[in-house]
């Protein structure tokens, strides 16, 4: 028998006192997998932002008073169609701190736009220019034109129907660039693409969409417990033709407990796109182009949405508890994994727990260039999506299953022949 003792030190990870920034924690009995959360009955503190204070339905150019304003991606600014004045709304960060003091959060803090939704998706806007009353369905649009004076009227934040968020990230990727990105993405996947998809593929049909998200900041205590092993020896046993490798190892009970300040976790607030396992559409594609740099979000101004379609928020903060806890547990486990690299035979976590001490919820619209293709025989809507801020692309291309199956069969036959030949030759 030969014995190979690994060259690395065999000090247990906890030996020599705690690591910098860490303090010893008394061993505790393993808990079952539990999730703590804020008391649902606890009333949320409401942050009142300027955007939530009913800016009025008529947003005018400060220089000439025109309401014909749209966002120019090349200029990176709102542009008045009448006097060509250019400006941007102030950064959202300037009013609500999206970065600091997360560790001081207690309970749930929400902005006015994140409050519980009311079922009022058809609103009557009174034109402040001529006094006419115009009906707007926020399910379809957030802007309309007064049929008398032709001014642009916008839904405002007086009614919490999910149409008006706190902030918006203006796109920096031009439509033409998004089209080319999508075209290149599909071209790279053309050989096994479904023939009908190839025939009907028209990336020029890409649409700019603003999708609603919650920006979540949270402070939480996390704890994971489990068992880890460190190899102390390894050796081979048996004869030349019949050898087995064996190991000796030290086993440790271990735990990691820490406070986490989570900054700008993005959560879908449109129920249509929140379900990543939806069998009817490839929602994971839209999810995969996250994240966005939320620090660049500006105050909501409906004119940023001109030329884009948008979906309104239809999910309440209260309904997000389970999702948030799941995300935080995943983050905690990921961080804990980074802390146990010394256990060279691995760690098995047995329990996990997270208690949310405080959270802050802000609502934003994020820009996405979206190409969709409905595969009728599968009843599946495929998306190719481009992040409107950084150009990251992801997509789902319908497959030509016949061609792929035939090629797979060919690979099977060729590899089998090669395998059998090598088997016979290898003596």
């Amino acid at each position: 028998m030969s014995t190979d003792v690994p060259g690395r030190g065999m000090m247990p990870p906890g030996a020599g006192g705690p690591q910098p920034g860490q303090t010893p924690m008394p061993p505790a009995a393993p808990n079952p997998s539990t999730v703590g959360s804020q008391d649902p009955a606890e009333a949320a503190q409401v942050l009142r932002l300027r955007a939530g204070e009913a800016p009025g339905n008529l947003v005018r150019c400060a220089r000439c008073g025109s309401s014909d304003i749209r966002y120019g991606i090349e200029q990176g600014a709102l542009i008045c169609a009448s006097c060509r004045a250019q400006w941007n709304e102030p950064l959202l960060e300037a009013e609500v701190d999206l970065t600091r003091d997360i560790d001081k959060l207690r309970g749930r803090t929400i902005t006015t736009s994140a409050q519980r939704l009311v079922d009022e998706t058809t609103v009557t806007l009174k034109c402040r220019a001529c006094g006419a009353e115009v009906v707007l369905s926020v399910d379809d649009a957030v802007q309309t034109r007064c049929h008398w004076c032709r001014n642009y009227l916008s839904a405002d934040g007086r009614i919490p129907n999910g149409a008006v968020p706190d902030g918006v990230i203006p796109p920096t990727i031009r439509r033409e660039d998004a089209v080319e990105t999508i075209r290149a993405f599909a071209k790279d996947r053309s050989f096994y693409a479904h023939p009908k998809f190839k025939a009907e593929f028209a990336p020029e049909n890409v649409v700019g969409v603003y999708l609603p998200y919650f920006v979540f900041d949270g402070h939480a205590e996390a704890e994971v417990q489990g068992e880890g092993e460190i190899q102390t020896a390894t050796w081979l046993e048996g004869s030349k033709d019949n050898k087995t490798r064996y190991y000796a190892a030290d086993v440790y009970r271990l735990g990691r407990k820490f406070l986490m300040s989570v900054d700008d976790l993005l959560l879908e607030s449109s129920s249509e796109h929140a379900n990543l396992d939806d069998p009817a559409q490839t929602n994971n594609i839209i999810n995969a182009i996250l994240p966005f740099d939320v620090k660049r979000a500006v105050h909501y101004n409906p004119n940023y949405l001109r030329g884009f379609t948008s979906e309104r928020r239809d999910v309440n903060v209260e309904a997000m508890d389970a999702v948030v806890e799941d995300r935080l547990l995943s983050i905690a486990r990921s961080k804990a994994d980074d802390m146990v690299q010394d256990y060279d035979r691995g760690v098995r976590w047995d329990s996990e727990r997270v208690d949310i001490r405080g959270s802050r919820w802000v609502t934003v619209y994020l820009p996405i260039w979206l190409y969709s293709y409905y595969q009728a025989d599968k009843g599946l809507k495929h998306f190719v999506a481009v992040n409107g801020q950084n150009g990251k692309v992801m997509g789902s291309i319908p497959l030509n299953m016949l061609r792929l199956s035939l090629m797979t069969a060919l690979v099977f036959v060729v590899a089998s022949v090669v395998g059998v030949a090598l088997f016979l030759l290898w003596r």
């Binding site: 303090t23 033709d241 190892a249 997509g395 690979v411 060729v414």
Partner: protein
């Protein structure tokens, strides 16, 4: 890395490695099909919030308590490691 470790263990054992050659066809076919499928459909892609979200840790506490010694085992990794290897799978 773990695949490599497993391969080394397999090569060192008394297992007739050349028998694996008989499975080269099915293994290659599965690998080919799944890699093309994933490249086109990207069903495994999602927001990597664990890595991309800014997280500050504080008040870190830990314990590592020696429990026992395994004198001899043929397992190259801790038992049950797969149950918690994916941070997104709840325990």
């Amino acid at each position: 890395m773990r695949v490599l470790e497993s391969l080394v263990v397999l090569l060192e054992s008394d297992f007739e490695v050349r028998i694996l050659l008989l499975f080269l066809g099915p293994i290659s076919a599965v690998f080919f099909f799944s890699s093309v499928y994933m490249k086109y459909r990207n069903t495994d892609k999602s927001y990597q919030f664990e890595r991309t979200t800014r997280v500050e840790l504080s008040d870190q506490q830990r314990y590592d308590t020696y429990a026992t010694h395994i004198r001899k085992t043929s397992r190259s990794r801790i038992d049950g490691e797969g149950r918690s290897s994916n941070p997104r799978m709840r325990l």
